[in-house]
């Protein structure tokens, strides 16, 4: 028996989490210092070297890190099998020499491929023999619990880089800096060898060592491949921008890199508290770095890299979030590789890495695209690694405490939050009007809502408060919707668990996290996100009230339903379905008088309460209806439907494809017209789904949900025959959560095994994820109105005396929002005002209610202006076009 095992045996069987936290914090601190040193080196180089040389150094560093990719996996293997020193060292030295020779032998083609000097490639070759060995030796230090030695070897590298590299770079440029990096690696190796002398190894755990080696190898590839691909695929400007983001993101990833290595030997031996400690440290570290990126991105970039790299600022948050997820994912890999899901972990890592590379090559055309794809990859990775635990719910064992539903819901909510803020789109017309109204005094706002709006006042009232607290910034005005969009995730879980079971609830929550429709309206400063949240809560409350009938259940039902009505008048449709459900519940209890009385009493009381809560809306609605009747083609009546898409037959008669389009929007969000036509053509798949439903018994919960989907949809279809724009999913958006719950049920019922459940749920989430990416990033999405981009460009070049003409007139609010200082007028005001103007900008949207008349008006004005002025420029943003005349 070794000393280490005696030591282990002497310890309590389940040491406190705090005890497991100590080595984590010690090594994390060392790593943070090392990271700070490396960052300092990068900063120093950014200032000392010209941009082109700096980009070369960054690529060199990326290649240097690539060399250390196997080293990372060898660290994992060494941490789990520290006794295999002799064999491990021989393997590492031989492998390192082979790699070094190969690099030296292929210097010329590599230099051309990477657009690097040959000297840098040769330096890489020189670093290779030590790279693998360094990783292995560090792993042995982790495996033998020599955490102080780990810290020492971690600090050795930046010490050399800063001490030697900065001086040499100033004197001899990028080659000298790279040489200092190589020297730092060998110094770290020497420290590791010295620090590991005399260490007594623990037990070897061969199987996990192999799985961990594979998984960590690929996760390291995943971490670094985006930089290389960006360098190869993008132009130098975008590549440099990404290099800056990558440097900062690399620091975030670097900060959490040691956590799984500290964890591995402890997790393999089942030491209690080790996993929780590792997860906590990874989450906190990642969260802290992400917070910096969210709060002070400009300061980070300006302060650390300087103004030339400001293009990187918008990319910082998603990329830091990606690296934070990566940190968590690595801990999950360590946990999986020392547990029962080693192959699963390795498989997930390999697949996500490959998919990420393919996606970057196929889809990314700028630095932002690469950053977003990396974010998507890391979120997917963490989700895939977490899946086995999610599907094992409910988890009661203390050792699996971290996998409890609450933990996973928190993770899903975090993912939902990130997805809802990572690609915020600009304000569009309806939002701008809402914001404009919210800036009015309270009574004026209510007057305007009575006379010029068609919605109940709850959302607008809440926005009024938010605007006074947080201002009218984009994030501030969208805050309510974002929060509702995040809150709907646990609400879906609760409703799914109440209606069916917890598995269904968790799948529903997962679908709600990525559902493109939910994400879309979570980003819109309108009432739809709140409406969907209240709709879910009302279902949850009603089901609980009927089943167990506690006061809190009836209260949740009543308040949610009242809020639903105060948010949108079409809430009356789901409320009608609720009432039918109460009738059914009452009828089904005909053989149990006591139960029947209970349901009837609660139903009666809540109906009275609902009537009382909704009563104040009646005069408000009456005023709105009167004003609506008096209005003909007024400002709001002429707004585009936002239904966007020829396939849905906007502005024409309702077609079958309009119904299909609404169904597609509900599940997969908004897409370009062509994509919608293609998806709509896949309706035979719905025939298949109907066949698959044969033999499935329907429960009452499903009947309620079907009612909540079908009744509002059919009612608005009927209304749409009279007024086309009303057959539009957002007006019955409360049906979408019900549809998600039904989809979750359709996934969990046929999935008898965990693997089948994982496969079906992953497939569904994957389709939604792909649709989400297309919805958010594809400029051909007809619902994306980039007024922000267009007006930013106008205001950037506009000077005193310039005039902006816009068409149609209802763009006033959005122009006021983005360009408040511009002299802006509707096109209908005529061209007299432009006589003395400097530059005239004409802005129009592509999708308007009366496009022919609008286009004719724009054409007339442009022709008139061109008699006196020259058209110097015109540009397009999604659904917005601007002409510049001087």
């Amino acid at each position: 028996m070794t000393a280490a095992s005696v030591d282990l045996a002497a310890r309590p069987a389940t040491p406190a989490a705090g005890r497991a936290l100590h080595p984590q914090l010690l090594v994390a601190a060392g790593q943070a210092l090392a990271g700070a040193g490396n960052l300092g080196f990068a900063l120093a180089m950014a200032r000392l070297l010209p941009p082109g040389a700096y980009a070369d150094l960054v690529v060199f560093l990326a290649m240097y890190l690539l060399l250390h990719l196997p080293a990372t996996s060898l660290s994992a293997a060494g941490a789990l099998a520290p006794r295999s020193a002799r064999a491990g060292r021989a393997l590492c030295v031989a492998g390192g020499l082979a790699v070094g020779l190969a690099l030296a032998g292929t210097t010329e083609p590599l230099a051309r491929l990477l657009d690097l000097d040959r000297s840098l490639v040769l330096l890489l070759a020189a670093a290779a023999p030590g790279a693998l060995l360094l990783g292995f030796e560090r792993g042995r230090l982790y495996g033998t619990h020599r955490h102080r030695a780990v810290v020492a070897t971690l600090l050795a590298e930046p010490a050399s880089r800063l001490g030697l590299g900065a001086v040499l770079a100033a004197m001899a440029g990028v080659d000298a800096a790279a040489a200092a990096v190589v020297a730092g690696g060998y110094l770290a190796l020497a420290v590791a060898l010295v620090g590991g002398r005399g260490a007594t190894a623990g037990e070897t755990v061969r199987q996990p060592a192999m799985a961990a080696a594979v998984a960590f190898l690929f996760v390291a590839v995943l971490q670094n491949q985006d930089l290389l691909l960006a360098k190869v695929l993008l132009g130098s400007g975008e590549a440099t921008t990404f290099a800056v983001v990558s440097a900062l993101g690399g620091a975030a990833a670097f900060a959490t890199a040691t956590i799984p290595l500290v964890l591995l030997p402890d997790a393999a031996r089942g030491r209690a508290g080790a996993r929780e400690a590792a997860i906590s440290v990874a989450a906190l570290t990642g969260g802290a770095v992400l917070s910096l990126g969210l709060l002070v991105p400009e300061r980070l970039v300006d302060g650390l890299f300087g103004p030339p790299y400001r293009e990187a600022v918008p990319l910082l948050a998603p990329y830091l979030a990606a690296m934070a997820w990566l940190g968590v994912a690595r801990v999950l890999i360590a946990i999986r590789c020392t547990g029962a899901h080693r192959r699963w972990a390795a498989g997930v890592v390999v697949m996500v890495t490959a998919a990420h590379a393919a996606a970057v090559i196929a889809l990314a055309d700028d630095a932002a695209g690469v950053a977003r794809l990396t974010f998507a990859a890391t979120v997917t990775l963490a989700g895939g690694l977490a899946a086995p635990s999610v599907l094992r719910l409910p988890v009661r064992s203390v050792a699996r405490r971290w996998a409890a539903p609450a933990t996973w819901l928190a993770a899903l909510m975090a993912a939902a939050l990130v997805l809802r803020i990572v690609v915020l789109r600009g304000i569009w017309i309806d939002e701008a009007i809402s914001i404009s109204q919210a800036q009015l005094p309270w009574s004026d706002m209510l007057d305007q809502l009575r006379s010029a709006d068609v919605h109940p006042p709850l959302y607008q009232a809440a926005l009024w408060v938010v605007v006074r607290i947080a201002g009218t910034g984009e994030l501030a005005v969208k805050l309510l919707s974002i929060l509702a969009g995040v809150a709907i995730v646990p609400a879906l879980y609760a409703a799914g668990a109440a209606l069916y079971d917890r598995r269904t609830g968790m799948v529903a929550a997962g679908l709600g996290t990525v559902a493109p429709f939910l994400v879309w309206y979570s980003q819109e400063a309108r009432m739809y996100s709140l409406f969907m949240l209240f709709a879910v809560l009302a279902v949850f409350g009603q089901v609980q009230a009927i089943r167990r009938g506690r006061v809190v259940d009836w209260t949740i039902y009543t308040m949610s339903t009242a809020a639903l009505i105060w948010t949108q008048y079409f809430a009356l449709l789901p409320v009608a379905v609720q009432q039918v459900a109460f009738v059914a519940a009452w009828w089904q209890r005909r053989r149990d008088p006591a139960e029947r009385r209970r349901v009837l009493a609660g139903w009666s009381l809540t109906s009275v309460a609902l009537a009382a809560l909704a009563a104040p809306l009646v005069p408000f609605l009456s005023d709105q209806l009167e004003a609506y009747g008096n209005r003909r083609s007024g400002r709001f009546g002429a707004l585009p439907s936002q239904a966007g898409g020829d396939v849905s037959g906007v502005g024409e008669e309702i077609s079958v494809y309009a119904a299909i389009a609404n169904g597609v929007w509900a599940m997969w969000g908004y897409h370009a017209d062509r994509a919608m036509a293609q998806i709509g053509a896949l309706w035979p798949v719905a025939m298949l789904a109907a066949l698959l439903a044969l033999g499935r018994r329907w429960c009452r919960a499903s009947a309620l949900l079907v009612g909540l989907v079908v009744v509002p949809g059919v009612a608005l279809l009927a209304l749409g025959l009279v007024k086309r724009d009303l057959f539009e999913l957002r007006y019955f958006s409360g049906a979408v959560p019900a549809l998600l719950l039904l989809t979750a049920r359709a996934i969990t019922v046929p999935a008898r095994s965990r693997v089948a459940l994982a496969g079906l749920a992953t497939a569904m989430v994957a389709t939604m994820g792909v649709a989400l990416v297309d919805q958010q990033l594809n400029g051909a999405n007809p619902r994306r109105y980039d007024f922000e981009g267009a007006l930013d460009r106008v205001t950037a070049s506009a000077e005193q005396g310039d005039v902006l003409l816009y068409e149609p007139a209802y763009l006033e609010a959005v122009v006021d929002y983005y360009a408040p200082r511009l002299d802006a007028r509707p096109l209908g005001a005529g061209t007299r005002a432009t006589r003395d103007a400097g530059t005239v900008f004409v802005l129009a949207t592509d999708r308007v209610t009366d496009s022919k008349a609008s286009a004719a008006k724009v054409g007339d004005v442009l022709a008139t202006l061109e008699q006196e002025r020259a058209m110097v420029n015109d540009f397009r943003r999604p659904n917005v076009r601007v002409w510049v005349l001087e």
Binding site: A681, P684, V685, M687, A690, L694, G695
Partner: protein
């Protein structure tokens, strides 16, 4: 409540069917004339089947129990055997010997000539009846025994169908109460279900028939004999000359003759015997081939029979079901032709309108099946029927050619190896549909092409689901009748 729900659904489905066919049969809808003709024929065939289904199930009503009359009656219990495993037969003989409600005389009709079987039968007080030849197969075997027995009632059980002790108690009263009742049929229940094997899917098909359809046929006086789990009046059998020996579905042919002579029939919708369904693909296909050839071959007899139109229509519907494989072939061919040649049955401008008119009809039809069958008819059952479309095609061609089928006993034990051969036509169809679908995707991603690729995908999924049973061994899905839990026919 349920009956009204079914009738309401039937009426709704009928309305949607009328809307669809009025639209479909307008000449302007025609695209390629041949393809249009094929589509119309297939759709009309299925609509007739659907109408027949709604009409049948609209009469679904529970038949009240009629207790047996006082006094002891004699019942001959026939168990036809032809080289089936002894343990399978023994369970049935033992249960037959325990039948209550009458004085039973169990006879094992052994066409295999097994001494072991005779010894086993004697242990249970049963006698073994043998004959010199095997003329007329099962029908000949029963007729041979009829000539050597005398009881006024005759119960027939296939050797793998274990009767419940109450079988005679629940059925005898119906024949005693009605002198013109020729037989009382009970469900042919498969007990070897619950393992996800082919027997489950086959039972799901049976459950729809022995549920609402059989009850509906009974209400319309048109229940057919299914050859097992049935109690006959000897007088009725004698009047029609016993079981017809010229058909591979002797029970179906017998029913026609009985109805022609004015005999009435009874269906008791209670599971009173538990049998074994096919446990592998070859067994299933063998059974379906026999039924298909027999029923399709009987269509001519149905046409010629002197039957009331309602009864004739019920027989035509039952026999005509075995032509539905042709419609599957048409539906599979249409997307293939469209992708490869561009020709399509409907004018392209009407795609949107097609969906508008077709979707309600399709949805209502499926809903009617789901509600009327109380969820008993599953996707697995449908896919198994679809994947064996070739059985119907082959059977009808053979019937048209006048080729007589041979009575083949359905194997009672599943094979211990995979059986890709019976699924070969389905696999070929999958290959063609998959290949053409892939070709379509490579060629273009226009909505019209995608629509046909989606149809191809749908067919591939259904075919694959049905064909998968060929790749399960019988052993994997095997369960004995004794191990299985009892079940009821969906009400």
């Amino acid at each position: 409540m349920t009956r009204w729900r079914i009738r309401l659904l039937g009426l709704g489905s009928l309305a949607f069917a009328v809307i669809y066919f009025v639209w479909l049969l307008t000449p302007a809808r025609a695209g390629h004339p041949v393809l249009y003709g094929m589509l119309v024929v297939a759709e009309v065939f299925n609509a007739v089947q659907a109408l027949g289904f709604w009409w049948t199930v609209a009469g679904d009503r529970p038949r009240p129990h009629v207790p047996p009359a006082d006094g002891v009656v004699d019942v001959d219990v026939f168990i036809p055997v032809y080289n089936e495993p002894l343990d399978v037969v023994e369970a049935t003989v033992a249960a037959a010997a325990r039948l209550q409600g009458a004085r039973v005389h169990v006879a094992v009709l052994d066409d295999g000539g097994s001494d072991e079987l005779a010894a086993m039968a004697s242990r249970y007080g049963a006698r073994s009846v043998r004959r010199r030849d095997r003329a007329g197969a099962k029908a000949g075997n029963i007729n041979h025994a009829l000539a050597r027995t005398t009881a006024p009632f005759v119960a027939v059980f296939d050797c793998d169908h274990v009767p419940d002790e109450q079988f005679l108690v629940r059925t005898l009263g119906h024949l005693q109460a009605d002198d013109r009742a020729a037989f009382a049929q009970t469900p042919q229940y498969y007990a070897n279900t619950g393992t996800g094997g082919i027997a489950d899917a086959a039972w799901s098909q049976q459950a729809l028939f022995f549920g609402t359809i059989a009850r509906g046929k009974d209400a319309r006086g048109s229940m057919i004999c299914c050859g097992t789990n049935v109690l006959f009046r000897r007088e009725a059998l004698a009047e029609v000359g016993g079981f017809p020996e010229g058909s591979v579905t002797e029970d179906f042919a017998l029913s026609i003759r009985l109805h022609e002579r004015g005999w009435r029939t009874v269906y008791v919708p209670e599971v009173l015997a538990r049998g074994l369904g096919p446990e592998d693909m070859a067994s299933y296909v063998s059974q379906q081939q026999r039924w298909a050839r027999g029923c399709v071959g009987s269509l001519r007899a149905v046409w010629r029979a002197k039957l009331p139109w309602r009864t004739r229509a019920q027989y035509a519907l039952s026999a005509g079901f075995f032509l539905s494989g042709w419609t599957a072939l048409v539906y599979m061919a249409l997307p293939v032709v469209r992708i490869v040649t561009g020709a399509q049955p409907l004018a392209s401008a009407s795609a949107d309108q097609f969906l508008l008119h077709f979707a309600p009809y399709y949805g209502a039809s499926l809903l009617a099946v789901a509600v009327a069958g109380a969820g008993s008819y599953t996707f697995s059952a449908f896919s198994l029927t679809f994947a064996t479309f070739w059985v119907h095609v082959y059977a009808s061609i053979a019937a048209l050619a006048g080729r007589r089928g041979r009575f083949v006993v359905t194997p009672k034990r599943g094979a211990d190896r995979v059986q890709p051969v019976p699924a070969l036509p389905a696999l070929m169809a999958i290959a063609v549909l998959g290949g053409v679908g892939g070709y379509g995707l490579v060629r273009d991603t226009e909505p019209a092409t995608l629509n046909n690729v989606a149809f191809a995908f749908m067919h591939v999924t259904v075919l694959a689901s049905g064909a998968r049973y060929a790749f399960r061994t019988g052993r994997a899905g095997r369960a004995t009748a004794e191990e299985s839990r009892p079940a009821e026919v969906a009400a």
